[in-house]
Symmetry: C2
Subunit: 255 residues, 2 copies
């Protein structure tokens, strides 16, 4: 049979396996027929994969519906705990939230996307747990921009090539040159702002987390624009962020 565009070395059956996993996630649980039709593969094929997944605890069957299993949660917790910055970053987020009363985040990056690793809600009523673990574009996220600013130019370019610069609001940076200019400025001032570039009315500030001269992640504080003015961000909140990164540096140095 003919080959796909850039494929040939991967394992096709693994591909369909995770197509199934993701489809179950998209549908919040699904049946065999539903999955087979949605992915356009035979019912028996889907059934085979589900059987293997079930034996391993990666999928559970409730009635006639298959759902993702808590084995994924076990893997996920393991992966998070393996991050160098996790321990100290978590501690920093807890304190940032207490000091500022605003939503605080520990963020890292992988494959050109920013990932929310740990967060606390602040006085907001937003549910931290629906955000936790999600992957977002880096160019409309204060932490993401702080990370981008400390990545090699070629890698930034590669990331933009791969993921593009989609707009979220009318303030989102969608122009390559403007992004590069802002990254330059972020490097100089040591922090990144997000002025309603992701969600209308939400502003944030983020600072990079460096370990041994390499960017490992970012800390950020976010909140409604009326409380998170540019002045407050660059004053009080930046001071807290700087104190937090200093302490993380110290912790990781004496590891």
């Amino acid at each position: 049979m003919e080959q796909g565009p850039n494929e040939g070395r991967g394992i096709k059956s693994d591909e369909t396996l995770f197509d199934i996993v993701e489809h179950i996630q998209d549908l919040d649980g699904a049946g065999v027929t539903e999955l087979a039709e949605g992915l356009d593969i035979a019912k028996s094929t889907v059934h085979g994969h589900l059987t293997t997944l079930r034996d391993r605890g990666l999928v559970v069957k409730r009635g006639q519906q298959y759902h993702l299993g808590l084995k994924f949660f076990e893997y996920g917790q393991y992966v998070r705990s393996q991050l160098d910055i996790f321990q100290s970053g978590m501690f920093a987020v807890d304190r940032l939230e207490a000091e500022t009363g605003e939503m605080s985040w520990l963020i890292t990056h992988q494959n050109g996307k920013a990932i929310y690793v740990y967060g606390r809600g602040g006085d907001n009523d937003i549910d931290v747990n629906t955000i936790l673990g999600t992957q977002v574009h880096m160019h409309f996220n204060s932490g993401g921009k702080a990370i981008l600013a400390h990545l090699p130019d070629e890698e930034v370019e590669r990331i933009v090539d791969e993921h593009g610069l989609p707009a979220r609001t009318e303030n989102t940076i969608t122009d390559r040159e403007r992004l590069y200019d802002e990254l330059e400025q972020i490097r100089e001032q040591g922090y990144a702002l997000n002025l309603s570039e992701d969600l209308e009315g939400i502003q944030a500030i983020g600072v990079p987390l460096m370990v041994n001269g390499e960017i490992q992640g970012a800390l950020s504080v976010a909140g409604p624009a009326h409380r998170m003015s540019k002045e407050r961000c660059e004053g009080e909140i930046l001071d807290h962020l700087r104190a937090a990164t200093d302490e993380i540096d110290l912790t990781l140095a004496y590891r």
Copy 2:
């Protein structure tokens, strides 16, 4: 080729895929050769699977080492947030920790094992995050026993058949009959104790979480024996646990 003992319907290639994933986890990151030798399969086969996994963000390559990727964390957070009891259970754990000053947990079960879903450390210095997400036997865990007590007898038997009753300390229940007797008692009194049955010097109390008459999980409070006396567990702490479950019942009823 000949067939395995009870296999035949699963997908073999999926099986090796997750063998690789688990081996990477066991080794905290590994190279291709290392994995191939450890699992006794060809290097090129391992490489093929890793390529697919990498394309999907499930695995990342740092230097010559492959590590599990944060995509697993994304899946894991999703699975946890899907649990019916998660929202209200998390809230309850936060309050239990504040009220008692002891380590508090939300636990659920899947495939006959207890899983730590959410926890807070209390005044202890134990790291909650290394426990979070792990799966443990139910018979030496206060929450696990509370869950077992409300499962159908046949399922309890199935679970014991599958996972056995391994000892952790000399107080661990390793006898079927003694377990059944204690489960009966737990059903009557409405709570389960753990008196150094898991770790020497650690005691705990757990209560079941029922939704629509079906067991969904448990809440537990644990701490060092000198603070977590049987009297304190069955008095003050049980009161807090009862208040917490009442509130969860209310929340889930008005859903």
